[in-house]
Symmetry: C2
Subunit: 132 residues, 2 copies
DNA sequence: TTACTTGTACTAGCGTCGTAGTACAACCAG
DNA sequence: CTGGTTGTACTACGACGCTAGTACAAGTAA
């Protein structure tokens, strides 16, 4: 494990957000598997040259989302619960919220839902998306 | 013109952003037509109980985007240039950027483009969207 | 030119957010 | 129990963004 994740302090996106995304992405793409242990808060903090609290906040937040599971004195792990049966409902809800925001923003710019559909359609055929 | 726009100071979205959206939306829906004059910076500031500078910044920004046109000593108007022939390319570019962000965010959450398409599809049939 | 309108530039204050520092609490292994 | 690990709570500082205040510049109309 040379470098688990990588952050750019100069990037406008805050460190904690970058790390959150990185972890979610790693799980979604299978680079982190269910049950697997993540680096220690301090360990990852040193590696990323970041305060331990920043890492801890990310872990806490992801635990709240049900993605991670943490045991004091042991470590933090990729949760199995998140991938259980009832997970679908929650996940679906997130998707709905995301699309809500998206449609709203697009509307303010004068785009219709159909415009968005067209754009997305062209992407579907053009690119080969990473499959989880 | 009782109240051109309305803002919520308590809303987390900053005033300038609210106003920007409101103006864009008014133009997109035809409530403000090409060539029409907008309220004066100070006039609108008083009406919205906001500093004149806040309104001015919004006007300036929208002028940069080519949506408005301002003439000193006269006022600010809805630009015709923005709706010219070459406007389409630029507008299309904005749409692409928006969709880029969208797909990226969704990807981080583990959603595929097809998932997004499904969600959007259901919205298209469910709601009757405002047509510009 | 002069009076009055318009938008603009500069500055300061305030709040919020992100991050780091430090000290604490829970847990495991011996 | 004891030493060392783990995550956690609290606090404070710095930076940035948003808004307001004030003074200025450019244009119009008489």
């Amino acid at each position: 494990m040379s470098e688990m994740f990588s952050l750019s302090p100069s990037h406008p996106m805050p460190l904690y957000a970058q790390l959150t995304r990185a972890i979610q992405f790693a799980i979604a793409t299978g680079r982190l598997r269910v049950g697997e242990q993540l680096p220690t808060v301090r360990q990852l903090a040193v590696e990323l040259r970041v305060n331990a609290n920043t890492v801890a906040k990310v872990y806490t937040e992801l635990e709240r989302s049900g993605i991670l599971e943490t045991r004091r004195g042991v470590g933090t792990f990729v949760s199995a619960r998140h991938f259980a049966a009832n997970h679908h409902e929650e996940h679906e809800k997130h998707l709905q919220e995301l699309v809500d925001r998206f449609v709203e923003e697009a509307g303010a710019m004068g785009f219709s839902v159909d415009d968005l559909l067209d754009q997305l359609q062209s992407r579907r055929t053009k690119e080969t998306k990473i499959n989880v």
